[in-house]
């Protein structure tokens, strides 16, 4: 057991050494000190097992067992715009990453307001080291989480967004991560840093998609810092290959009276783990976390959320829904901390699961830890199946059984989808949901 862990660490350690060499002259920078500390910490920790409370229901042994190679830098001619066209939204600033590598050719950023940055992180590290250094890795703790440590160790590129004070960015920013297939089983560790100034506004879309049904690991860390009175709407769409692994970790740090909304839509992979942590560190902030997972076959989709009410007079709303078909498994863990100072907190958490097959399962765990006394915190979790009476009502009007089930399942997903404000993204989601419902049906029919 220990032997294998050490071997594993050796694998990443030797990968790290190769990675270090490829960085050449950069190895004296503060970023590199971060990488070194992170790999050292990863070597100490190793991958988590189900004995770790945070990973109790999500066995990542298949990830730990695989020797993922670093994704080779992407050749510009490997993927053409037409290949990614189905995932592109027009009227957005777009940064495209292929197997974790930034593609200038496929990206498209229109004219930005003064002092606004929408660029890849490697460029920002070079051109704005102070601005980046002030925030990078300050919110996501690599000493507690092996995947974050691995991401920090191999930190090289990702997206960097900076919105100065009082700027309202009209067009959404779309970060498109494409897995384009590779001969090897590869890992990518994108790192995103998003900073919004006071009274600024940003609409952000992250999507993780694949062009081939390969096995690979996407291990992304996104840090978002909201300035006072700023508003960020963040949609994440994740639809990886059913052989792939997705570990996505988002850290949100909210300053006074800021407003953050996340709509996280997950179609999973083989294993998908979405972690989102929001710290409300100043009065009058508001945080909304919505999530929708759709899994089928043998997929596992895990959503871990933490809302940390550190200061008084903050509101949080959380709505997470799962639709599980086939032999899929869902995990939901929703932590809400209300610190001693955080009086007048208003926090509401709802978690609803729809099981479409007898073999699908969900482990759901709300976790409220309240240290203040004058607060309003509610949570509710339901797990159920489609309602027989509703199905009958639709059928009695001539609607086929399968269509009736789809209509009701779609309606279940509807209130989360409705929260996405970017129209083409919403349309894409609706099409993907319909396709996923069809897949689930097929897998049941052929059983």
């Amino acid at each position: 057991m220990i032997q294998t862990t050490e071997q594993k660490n050796n694998w990443y350690q030797s990968n790290f050494e190769m990675f270090e060499k490829s960085l050449n002259g950069e190895s004296n920078s503060s970023t590199h000190a971060l990488r070194r500390n992170a790999i050292a910490r990863f070597n100490e920790m190793g991958f988590p097992t189900t004995k770790n409370e945070e990973w109790r229901f999500t066995n990542i042994a298949p990830i730990a067992k695989t020797n993922f190679k670093p994704a080779l830098s992407y050749a510009a001619n490997q993927v053409a715009l037409k290949d990614i066209e189905p995932f592109v939204f027009h009227g957005t600033h777009r940064l495209v990453f292929i197997n974790g590598h930034f593609s200038k050719e496929l990206s498209s950023v229109s004219i930005l307001p003064k002092r606004t940055f929408v660029e890849n992180l490697a460029t920002a590290l070079k051109n704005s080291p102070e601005l980046v250094g002030k925030h990078l890795a300050k919110y996501s703790k690599y000493d507690e989480n092996a995947f974050t440590a691995l991401n920090a160790a191999f930190l090289k590129d990702g997206a960097f967004i900076y919105i100065p004070d009082s700027i309202v960015l009209e067009q959404p920013v779309h970060l498109l991560y494409v897995s384009a297939g590779s001969e090897d089983t590869v890992a990518s560790h994108p790192r995103n840093l998003i900073i919004t100034g006071k009274h600024s506004q940003l609409s952000l879309v992250e999507s993780y998609v694949c062009l081939t049904e390969d096995s690979y690991l996407t291990n992304v860390v996104t840090e978002i810092v909201l300035g006072e009175h700023s508003v960020v709407e963040h949609d994440k769409l994740q639809i990886e290959s059913e052989k792939a692994y997705h570990v996505g970790t988002i850290h949100v740090y909210q300053q006074g009276k800021s407003n953050y909304t996340s709509n996280s839509i997950s179609f999973g992979g083989s294993i998908a783990r979405n972690t989102i942590t929001a710290v409300l560190d100043a009065e009058g902030s508001e945080c909304t976390l919505n999530g929708l997972s759709l899994a089928t076959h043998q997929q596992l989709v895990d959503n871990h959320t933490t809302i940390d009410h550190a200061k008084p007079h903050c509101n949080s709303h959380e709505l997470y829904k799962s639709i599980l078909d086939g032999k899929s498994k869902g995990v939901f863990n929703g932590k809400i901390f209300v610190r001693k100072d955080a009086q007048k907190t208003d926090a509401k958490q709802t978690n609803k699961t729809l099981l479409l097959s007898d073999e699908a399962t969900i482990d759901t765990k709300p976790q409220l830890e309240i240290f203040a006394d004058d607060v309003k915190c509610t949570h509710g979790a339901t797990v159920g199946q489609l309602d027989a009476e509703q199905i009958f009502y639709l059928r009695s009007r001539g609607i086929a059984l399968t269509t009736a089930k789809d209509i009701l399942t779609f309606a279940f997903a509807g209130d989360v989808v409705a929260r996405v404000h970017i129209e083409p993204l919403k349309e894409q989601l609706e099409a993907l949901i319909h396709a996923r419902l069809g897949e689930g049906r097929q897998s049941r029919d052929t059983q």
Binding site: D387, A388, E389, Q390, F392, Y393, L394, R395, S396, R397, G398, I399, A400, L401, T403, A404, I407, L408, F410, A411, F412, G414, D415
Partner: protein, 255 residues
């Protein structure tokens, strides 16, 4: 059009229908009356194909076909319609979307062209007028938050859109005030023709002042104990259902 022969049905081994016999011909209106819990809704639901009820004995022929063999959606496509006593609420599904899906699946089954959104809207408008229904109900989720009366009116509206051959109205009058009752009854009457038939389930005589039945049947303890013309309804109103109890005992004895 409909021939029910010795129908027995129940839930979890509890028999609710104990041998119902009923024949309905095109152009006829039949009323089924009876006290609460006598099995009226069970009969209606069994005819519509509700799987929660097990048919243990008997046969139902609908236009010569074995109705009980058909899936609920095929019964609807073949022209059977049930206006529910308690229509279920379906949050997240708009009434409009639902009705369009229903109408088009029926049209498709009948080899007719599907209706597009524009035609559907125009068609609806005309049907709504006819029932004096509020347009806004169409954009709301199916039955969600509807008052009792609105739900009943929505059922008849669906009937007006789907134009069934055999409509079964299960206590459509309950929850309606006198004006609403008249509108709904007018709607039903306008939909009547020589080609279709209606079964009106009710336990008050009130509705039958507006929808005049050709036959009245009394269902007690899962069995039709008395049948007659429209005057039977008045008689029941006067004497109450207790009056039929003796009839039931007679029926049991003779069985």
């Amino acid at each position: 059009m409909l021939e029910i022969k010795n129908l027995h049905a129940g839930v979890n081994g509890n028999e609710i229908l104990n041998g119902v016999n009923l024949t309905v011909k095109t152009g006829e209106v039949h009323a089924i009356m009876g006290p609460n819990g006598s099995g009226k809704s069970t009969l209606a639901q069994v005819l519509a194909g509700r799987e929660a009820y097990n048919v243990t004995e008997g046969q139902v022929l609908y236009e010569g076909k074995d109705l009980l063999e058909m899936a609920p959606e095929d019964r609807a496509r073949e022209g059977l319609f049930l206006a529910f006593q308690y229509p279920v609420e379906i949050p997240g599904v708009s009434n409009m979307y639902f009705l369009k899906a229903a109408l088009n699946s029926i049209r498709k089954y009948r080899g007719q062209e599907e209706m597009d959104a524009v035609d559907f809207l125009a068609f609806n408008k005309q049907r709504m007028k006819f029932l004096e229904m509020d347009q806004s109900l169409l954009n709301r989720p199916v039955n969600e938050g509807f008052s009792g009366g609105e739900k009943k009116r929505n059922e008849i509206f669906q009937m007006a859109v789907l134009q069934p051959k055999l409509a079964i109205l299960d206590e459509t009058d309950s929850g309606l005030d006198i004006d609403a009752l008249r509108i709904v009854a007018d709607g039903v009457n306008k939909l009547r023709s020589k080609e279709n038939a209606v079964i009106v389930v009710t336990h008050y005589q009130r509705l039958l002042n507006y929808i005049i039945p050709d036959f009245v049947h009394v269902l007690v303890d899962g069995r039709i104990v008395k049948s007659g013309g429209k005057e039977l309804a008045l008689e029941l109103e006067e004497k109450g259902y207790d009056w039929t109890k003796g009839e039931n005992e007679k029926a049991v004895v003779s069985a």
